[in-house]
Symmetry: C2
Subunit: 356 residues, 2 copies
């Protein structure tokens, strides 16, 4: 009987609540597919700061490295917001990305037809939106050298944005590989009219394109892309971009759908290893109330089944169960038109499992 | 009789057509107010590359420096897209910003009620949007050191993002000064959870806030701000941010209104000197056809009258003339619901002058 080791990092805020439902779904999938998922819990973010004195304990990195895949809830909260950099929850997130070599962040923004009303955009603009942002996750200005010093006129701060050709090439290839399985349209986003790193980015994208003659590659400047995402999001199939631009554009794209509580993401290393997490944050304001939407985390389980464990059918089954529950009209508060009819986290998780 | 010298830089594409209408409006204002505007033309962008071999001839910088204010059309076009960096139209734009010390870019995104339908957002989400993005324009990653070299695994490219305390302070003050005259709500946007320059930015914003106790300062991370602009743009009064984030967010904010052909911008130096230009580009596809919308350029004239020449009433008169023309139902093609009824550039300019 096949056995997969899954590192489960619930994190902070609503993290533990939503993770619980996701793990229950995973367990059920295991029973149905005759596979064992050994879920081992680790700490990351604020809870790790409180317990271990660091947002990313060594034990968590080891646990993750020994696993076949990682499921993450969410990190952060007001309690740690004033902490110095090395004691902030996000530092744990950045650290685990680097430690595990998770260079490819995959963020689908898909508008499910029954949720069109949740968007702030007109239905005719968003219905049918189905795009993926592929974001480089371990390079660029996030991980370049940082400096802070006193100059003649006060303090000076520097961040270095650095990209190596090989780093660009591998993420561009991920973009092409994904586009190839979809509508075969890849938009590479940069700021080549200003940045040297973007000029190298564009050059590498052009070179790699020769290996994908079946995929159409176009380039968009980041400012135009931010406009086009608002104006006509349906024009996009796959967007590939560097770390900082990807942070901004993927969040913008997510919000177009109006239901960020529904969106999951994958952060992949070379090979099949990956970390899976909802796009939304730790929502400290509703933590512990049992009202958080567990669907993004459940859909992250589906992404994990497909991308790290090769269990395509099980992944599709989980996704279909989620859509069926939505189509039957069940909603958590964040996506409910009528909040008085909203159901809770556990109830939503149960409905998905019933459907499965 | 008062005499102002205005440097007029029509640039490329639709630039000359729209500038012609703007200058006619300016001339009329001069007659009405008993002021002489001496408009002197200079070259910038593609036309300057073709004529002078550089996107920013020395003569243009001199002309601008001797003027009281600068009006710019738009630069760029496919003809120069493949040129090396120093021979690209945008390089002229970046160059003139730096040469004239235009550190404060002011970009209002205002939803005029008669144009609500042009937006891709729901009417209830955009009607009433009235925000200003204040973007730092001469620092950050745009002007930091750039490097390109061969590493062990192919080429490497670097961009340095650098901010001095004094640079941050002066733009933050511009943000506060503008907010003070409006709804007194300033959102400072950064990525303080990742970037050193953002941490300095936030620190300076906090310090300067002490001088503006009447203005409410809040901080937003750039990724959240990109989300919030989509979700609920009405929450914003004034946004202040660094160069790269401002490039992206101001374009996103502009597109929320759906009528980018209506939006103008100012780039200000210390004192009253400024450069005024429409937010839209050179639109090479419709250049020379006489169908471009001149209203953003005409509204740039109004911004110039107010911000550089202290002619507040004349500025308001121009703006009101534009709103009246719109309310009477006149539209250029870019903002027309029924394109068959769209009017041309010259006709639109004439209608505004008639109204004045
Ligand atoms: C928390 C933060 C450091 C992180 C990022 O900027 O990458 C987050 O915004 C994300 O997108 O996962
Ligand atoms: C043309 C380009 C260099 C410029 C910028 O990025 O500043 C433009 O996008 C703008 O916003 O004025």
């Amino acid at each position: 009987k096949k056995n997969y080791r899954i590192a489960v990092l619930p994190g902070d805020g609503i993290g533990p609540e939503i993770m619980q439902e996701a793990v229950k779904v995973l367990t059920l999938v295991g029973e149905q597919e005759g596979v064992t998922f050994t879920c081992e819990e680790g700490r990351i973010g604020g809870i790790a700061i409180d317990t271990d004195g660091t947002p990313l304990p060594e034990a968590t990195v080891t646990l993750a490295k020994q696993a076949d895949a990682v499921l993450l809830g969410a990190v952060g909260g007001p309690k740690w917001d004033q902490n110095p950099g090395h004691l902030r929850p996000e530092t744990g997130l950045l650290g685990i990305r680097k430690a595990l070599g998770l260079f490819a962040n995959i963020r689908p923004a898909t508008m499910h037809s029954s949720l069109v009303d949740a968007s702030s955009l007109k239905p005719e603009v968003v219905s049918g939106v189905d795009l993926i942002v592929v974001r480089e996750l371990t390079g660029g200005i996030y991980f370049g050298e940082k400096k802070r010093y006193d100059g003649p006129n006060g303090e000076v701060a520097e961040d270095q944005c650095i990209y190596h050709e090989a780093e660009i090439e591998r993420i561009i290839r991920v973009g092409f590989d994904i586009a190839r399985k979809r509508q075969k349209r890849l938009v590479s986003v940069d700021k080549a009219n200003v940045l040297e790193s973007s000029r190298l980015w564009r050059k590498v994208a052009e070179r790699v394109a020769a290996d994908y003659p079946d995929v159409e590659l176009t380039h968009q400047l980041v400012d135009s892309c931010a406009m086009q995402l608002v104006r006509e999001p349906k024009q996009f199939d796959v967007i590939v971009t560097e770390n900082m631009f990807g942070d901004i554009l993927s969040d913008q794209a997510a919000m177009l759908t109006g239901s960020i509580g529904m969106l999951s993401s994958a952060s992949l290393a070379a090979g099949s290893f990956g970390l899976y997490e909802p796009v939304h944050g730790s929502a400290p304001d509703i933590a512990g109330k049992g009202i958080a939407n567990p669907l993004a985390t459940i859909l992250s389980v589906a992404m994990m089944l497909r991308l790290s464990l090769g269990m395509d059918e099980a992944a599709a089954a989980v996704e279909n169960a989620v859509w069926s529950v939505l189509e039957a009209g069940h909603r958590t508060g964040d996506i409910a038109a009528d909040r008085s009819k909203a159901i809770g986290t556990v109830e939503m998780g149960q409905l998905v499992r019933d459907e499965l």
